[in-house]
Symmetry: C2
Subunit: 267 residues, 2 copies
């Protein structure tokens, strides 16, 4: 399958790949749609990676997307404009000090944000205050400790652990996905329901091999090489062996598994 | 939810628990049904844990269930008889030396067997010879390396690794689930499709907390205490700390994750 990917595809293969390219978005977002007229807060929109998907899937809802970074917001605005969407308003703000009145929103959406916060329960509780009674919150987080693969490799696990350790030193938690249920319960929400969304990649799924195993997960771990070595978490030889082992799982007889967790709850 | 479980339930709760109690069987077997008149080989039936489910779900199929252990077969026969099933024949045989002519079966079913074999690809290839052309094989395996949980615990991972190491020393592989795709491809099967079946347990799922986290997974790890200590894989204090940590994941704010892999393919 790998060689087929390198050398191109016929029309049927292209169609299949396009289907699969949408798999991750579908996996995470297929069951999120907000009613027309509802007011939705996207807390921590970053560069708008989820904003376009959200706003497209709920064209009648009004989104307020906030982020602490002006640079990220500018990129998010560019993406949303490029997609021709007009139902999103952007605002720069800190998730712990949001400039909205209590009960301002019908729904809150938080994706890949809690992993970076030292006090995720407090953040969720603050977001809950912005929800009208009966309003909903949706939380999506990854979990790097959920990654396992074939062939297995201690060096690959060491490289992944270096990323987890760096994120912990920055006050975050890269293994937060598995904690979405207790975090939402701890923040006082009701009707908490969490469903895991597992990405399973084997040789029959070339678009996921390239799009997820290589270009999403392995690229992310490769990206911490300099800080991981600078922090002395492991040496260059070990780190590079880990990266090679992750690329090895992307060969035709390799397998890669990773799980996101999606939680919903009501105020 | 834990205290609710200790202190009993109202009727609605009992109904929900009964639903959940069936979850694991449904998760693994809901999409396996054989046509009336088809001949199915269950290779390695053990004490018949899957045989009753299989035969009930395909009442018109004829099952031949084999195992190398006469004692296990006797227990499997007892269970099948107790369930009132008459579509199963038992036979004692070695999976590498099965007393059947080539192409004798329409379908082969193998569940929790490959994990114990030193040569799983050869076993699958031998089973493939017993299939008629176009016949199907179904393989289900767990993967102990897929277990992760909250709160996380190095001691718990050490205890789990001891079980994995003991199984490896016995010639098996407790992390085989993730390898089902390459094993089936390597054994020469076509149309190989693998789907992960993740068991996700949080405080909202008391039947799975008790039935899976405590009585299935943690009990299995507890069961290797004596051989793990005898082999010097870790000391008693560490092992017992690991078991306590696994029980800790079964409290109301704990989370436990484990994944089975189910593969189907054709000859």
């Amino acid at each position: 399958m790998t060689s087929a990917y390198v050398h191109g595809y016929d029309d049927r293969e292209v169609e299949r790949l396009q289907d699969q390219a949408g798999t991750l978005v579908d996996l995470l977002h297929h069951d999120t749609a907000y009613p027309a007229g509802s007011a939705v807060l996207e807390a921590g929109c970053g560069v708008g990676a989820q904003t376009v998907t959200l706003a497209q899937r709920s064209p009648g809802a009004r989104f307020t997307s906030v982020d602490v970074s002006a640079a990220s917001l500018a990129e998010a605005e560019r993406r949303v404009a490029a997609a021709g969407l007009e139902n999103v308003t952007f605002q720069q703000a800190d998730i712990f000090d949001l400039p909205f009145a209590p009960a301002s929103f019908d729904h809150v959406f938080v994706c890949f944000v809690l992993e970076h916060l030292a006090r995720p329960v407090e953040a969720l509780a603050a977001l809950g205050q912005l929800l009208r009674p009966g309003g909903s919150i949706t939380v999506i987080e990854g979990d790097h400790g959920s990654a396992y693969f074939h062939p297995d490799s201690d060096a690959a696990h060491d490289a992944i652990r270096a990323q987890i350790e760096l994120q912990a030193r920055a006050g975050g938690d890269a293994n937060i996905g598995r904690q979405v249920y207790p975090l939402l319960v701890g923040a006082g929400f009701g009707d908490v329901r969490v469903s895991p969304r597992m990405v399973y990649v084997d040789g029959s799924r070339p678009a996921l091999i390239d799009g997820f195993t290589r270009k999403t997960f392995t690229a992310m771990i490769e990206g911490v090489r300099a800080p991981a070595l600078a922090a002395g978490l492991l040496d260059a030889e070990r780190f590079d062996a880990g990266i090679r082992a992750l690329h090895r799982t992307a060969e035709a007889d390799g397998v890669f598994c990773y799980t996101f967790f999606k939680g919903t709850a009501t105020r």
